[in-house]
Symmetry: C2
Subunit: 317 residues, 2 copies
């Protein structure tokens, strides 16, 4: 009879992954990094694994979920802002005309995001995120946004942590948007979530101190900003990095440039049926230059259609 420990070791840690090259590369990397005495061994303190969020840990179509939150907030706040009925981009959002709302380009996007993400305390903002997640549902997947996460990536993070890795999110998304749910959904505590920030300031009020979110961008954690944020927040070069778009290219390059055992991976959205299929031409989550570099440098490219047995976790009732 097998002892419980041997049985455990023989349990597949990545049951939602098909037995193809990406899964094999992950398992080989973990074995190499954790084998004591091996030349490939990575000391526990250096086992830093970073993950992009949108399109890597959860879906990002038909729009970044945080932007869906912003649009819903505009609708929720509209009764307090009668002037929005005549003012773009708010007017178009309230009329459900996203194309017109986005005609204003980046300026319109920033205005929609700042209006719904700033001018309040950090605690007030966190509450609006919590409230939204409790009721909002993804329009196509018909489930809460926090269940539009990738089951194979949940297994991967659990597998890494079981092998002494510290898992971090390094995302272009807002850090205070993600921290509200990242611990519950991914098992990643707030102090291991790195993201974009708005300028925040301390204010002493009669009832005690608050932190106020100002409508001003502090830092955008995307593209070349990702290695900068990794250095600023984590202070150690990762040995493992996973992304899905050109926004992750520099993070992967920075990870790859270290010495010793490392792993660089990309999720390639190839599954129009179960999720979405998009890459070089997509506005959201474009994967073009990073895909070329991954192929040239033999980084791991995961084909969602071919490599994942399951995409999303079973729906809760």
């Amino acid at each position: 009879m097998l002892s419980p420990l041997v049985a455990l070791a023989q349990t597949d840690p990545l049951p939602s992954w098909n037995d193809r090259a990406p899964k094999q590369a992950i398992v080989r990397f973990v074995a190499d990094a954790t084998r004591p005495g091996a030349a490939t061994f990575v000391p526990a303190a250096e086992r830093i694994a970073v993950f992009d969020n949108d399109g890597t840990l959860w879906a990002e179509q038909p729009m970044y979920f945080q932007f869906a939150f912003a649009l819903d907030r505009v609708k929720a706040l509209a009764p307090e802002h009668p002037e929005w009925r005549e003012k773009q981009p708010f007017k178009a959002v309230l009329e459900g005309d996203l194309r017109t709302a986005l005609a204003g380009g980046d300026a319109a996007i920033v205005e929609l995001v700042m209006t719904t993400h700033a001018g309040m305390t950090t605690e007030e903002f966190a509450r609006t995120v919590t409230d939204w997640l409790a009721t909002a549902r993804h329009p196509r997947l018909q489930r809460p946004y926090t269940e539009c996460v990738y089951q194979p990536m949940l297994e991967l993070m659990t597998y890494l942590r079981a092998n002494g890795f510290k898992t971090f999110i390094v995302s272009g998304g807002g850090v205070e948007f993600m921290r509200v749910w990242a611990e519950r959904v991914y098992g990643i505590p707030p102090e291991q979530v790195v993201g974009s920030t708005v300028v925040t300031r301390f204010e002493m009020r009669d009832r005690g101190p608050v932190l106020l979110r100002d409508p001003k961008i502090d830092f955008i954690d995307d593209k070349a900003g990702k290695p900068v944020a990794i250095n600023k927040f984590i202070g150690r070069r990762p040995v493992f990095a996973f992304g899905n778009s050109d926004g992750d290219q520099q993070m992967l390059e920075w990870t790859a440039a270290g010495g010793g055992t490392r792993f660089m991976g990309l999720v390639h959205h190839t599954d129009a049926e179960r999720e979405w299929a998009y890459d070089r031409e997509s506005d959201v989550g474009r994967l073009d230059k990073a895909l070329d570099e991954a192929i040239a440098k033999r980084w791991t490219v995961v084909s969602m259609k071919d490599d994942w047995k399951t995409v999303f976790p079973p729906a809760r009732r």
Copy 2:
């Protein structure tokens, strides 16, 4: 015979602390926070403890050690900068005339710091810190700077970690200056060191990517900046905070304003013989308003002279 476990539990975790009110308050706080089922219980994930560095974990007289590093770097770099022989504040530093060097006020200080801390890659900077620490000695204490740390605070951090707390540094010092040695000296890994930053940018060079430190301040992690940085980097309100100066006042206020079990402490430098005695009138590490607030709100004030049996660890040979 006592079992090893019982013997361990009966060992004093804070042997360098005299048995007075501050030690008792620390031990009571830890017991309250970790007693399962108690109303005072703090879940493990929320056991965030933050420590100022200069004057709280290591000494800060006669000047911040990081500034001593900057002055030594000016001397080391002088042969490459013949123009400094005629240019202030460098000329005065090279002549050992600190009073004249500082006559230029903040602008002179910023110039000395930026000249020695920026215009290089993150790896080059880390190397200069490592090299300096290997040879520099504190002028009065006659030991390496990394041995000018407070033995009672080392014990306190170990005690907290043994009880499931995650210890962070939240310091006005440069984050990349501290991360070089904080893990070895304090047991605090780079990702738990929060501090001031310069603007850093990613650059792809022929031999691979680098991060360049620009001579421009990104963020000063002091005073009202400390709760802002705690929110940005840690994303969770601490339940335990220790400082020593007015620069820590807002961090203590932010910690105190949370609900449930908490601990706010200040190191009061009262020991002219073994260390230094200074508070309300000091230029470095002034403790004035924060001391008034600590007394009014019954935060724990540690008198170095009365509460600490030992100040520094035994000298190494």
